[in-house]
Amino acid sequence: MLTAGIDIGSISTKAAVLADGRLLGSRVIFTGYNSEAAGKKVFEELLEELGLLASAVRRIVSTGYGRSSVKFVDKAVTEIICHGTGAHFLNPLVRSVIDIGGQDSKAIVLDEHGKVKNFAMNDKCAAGTGRFLEVMANALEADLDGFGEMSLKADRPAGISSLCTVFAESEVISLIAKGESRVNIIAGIHESIAARVSALANRVGIVPPVVMTGGVAKNAGVVKALEKKLGVPIEVSPFAQVNGAIGAAIIAAGLR
């Protein structure tokens, strides 16, 4: 049976199609202004890529902050539940998920069946989110995709003490003016995100093995800084960004 998951996030929209518990394919696009249109578009593009007709897909579950905006789905489920399900699907041993998305970050503890046992969500500000990284990349005139690699070359990560994204941006600008190297500033930014997110993770009491999901998981610098802060290894799957969509597709398969 074919099922699909559509994860409409604040920055990107993801889709995944599963055939009887096997991942057929996934796709990521920018969400833009209209989350409903983005949900529809990513789904159609993925179907085209896989050479499938929409009618072949039996069940669809949407997730992410835009989950209720798409009407052609069978059910909308929160991204916390979907990330838990997705992480469990990719590695059933995983007990904790750290999901850093565009506009918020979440720490999720799972039981042995992949069910959410506890969670915490930073929904107060952009610090410790993908948006924070975007703002910083802009201030540094650097390519966000290269952030992870660059930060691994740092010899002395710069200290960034502001919690607020806007103030942290000013701090970064002062560091540039002082002549601090770009790699050290980027490493400092990653440490600042790790400090935010590890506080969240410690609050829910995460247990290893830990997996990181969401778009920010693609940034090796953040993952490394977070491993250091939490003192546990963090696994990142190649499907980190589409993990929520995969979870949604699995939940779709379980719908009656």
Binding site: I81, V116, M121
Partner: protein, 371 residues
Amino acid sequence: MLTEFHDALKDPAAYGKRLKEEGGRKVVGYFCSYTPEEIIYAAGAHPFRLFGAGDGIHLADAHFQSYCCSLVRGALEGALAGRFDFLDGVVFPHTCDSIQRLSDVWRMNVRGHFHLDVVLPVKLNTDSAKAYMTDVLEKFRNDLERKLGTSITEDGLKKAARTFNDIRGSLKRLYELKSENPGIVSGADLYAVVKASMIMDRDRVVRLLPGVVRELEKRRGTGEGEEGKRLVLAGGICNHPDVYRVIEEAGGVVVWDDLCTGSRYFEEVTEGGGSPVADLAGHYLARPVCPAKHSGLYARAERLVEIVKEKRAAGVVFLFLKFCDPHSFDYPYLKKALDEAGIPSMVLEVEDRLPSEGQLTTRFETFVHMI
């Protein structure tokens, strides 16, 4: 049936003003459910509970740092904006630090009405607490008599105790009906009744409530069969009726609470037996405590766990005003007690407005799914 309650809440200040102009009664504003409203009522005045502003705080920021809660800042905002000019007096009970500082700032910056502090005891379970509380209430009675130019009689106090007992009894009955049949009334409607009962003319409230009880009794069994997950809401004041709707839409239903705009207000009534003031003192010692008071090291946790078990709730939602330090200090030990009893919980911190609804929904839906 509930229109009158909802109407009063649309613009509480307009309601208070009208009551004063049409009823010719003095209106005394107060903070916190520890204010002995009975004594204000017995003085022939109208006790009018003050809540936060709810529509932006600007003027108060010149007097309070941002670490004061939005209730305190919002109340001062309302006073500085002149929205409480109709009040004849304002009463500040000694509860949390911020309410005490609010009293000071108010005294220096808000003119036009009398100002009374009621310096209540903090430890309520000591041998001397009863005598202390009785003295404080007796002093409050004398102060009010002087400020209002009236006398508060023993009979007046007895009648006041009866009126408020009846109100509390009806509110409790409404909660029980809702808890037994969650579908018969929405959380937001029930909230409106409780909150309006702290604002409206109590003689009117005491007559209206039995009608509401009868109506809900009639609805029993005819409810839509609400199948939501049963939740207990715990915290300070709730000034956010939308919370109930968001919880209900996420598949939950609030079946009881531990709020000062809820069960802490009505759970206990005033028993007779002594002098009217001593009886009232007994009531304020016996009612469930808030974290600004003390009645045993584990009293609050034991009560919360008991509520959850008795009301067959599946989890607890803590609703805290941001920067409310008494509640934040109590939270870790309450959470621990719930964890030990195997009761899941989540925290929601709010200011004068709710956080963005999308994220709120995500958290509630996940929590309801989790429990």
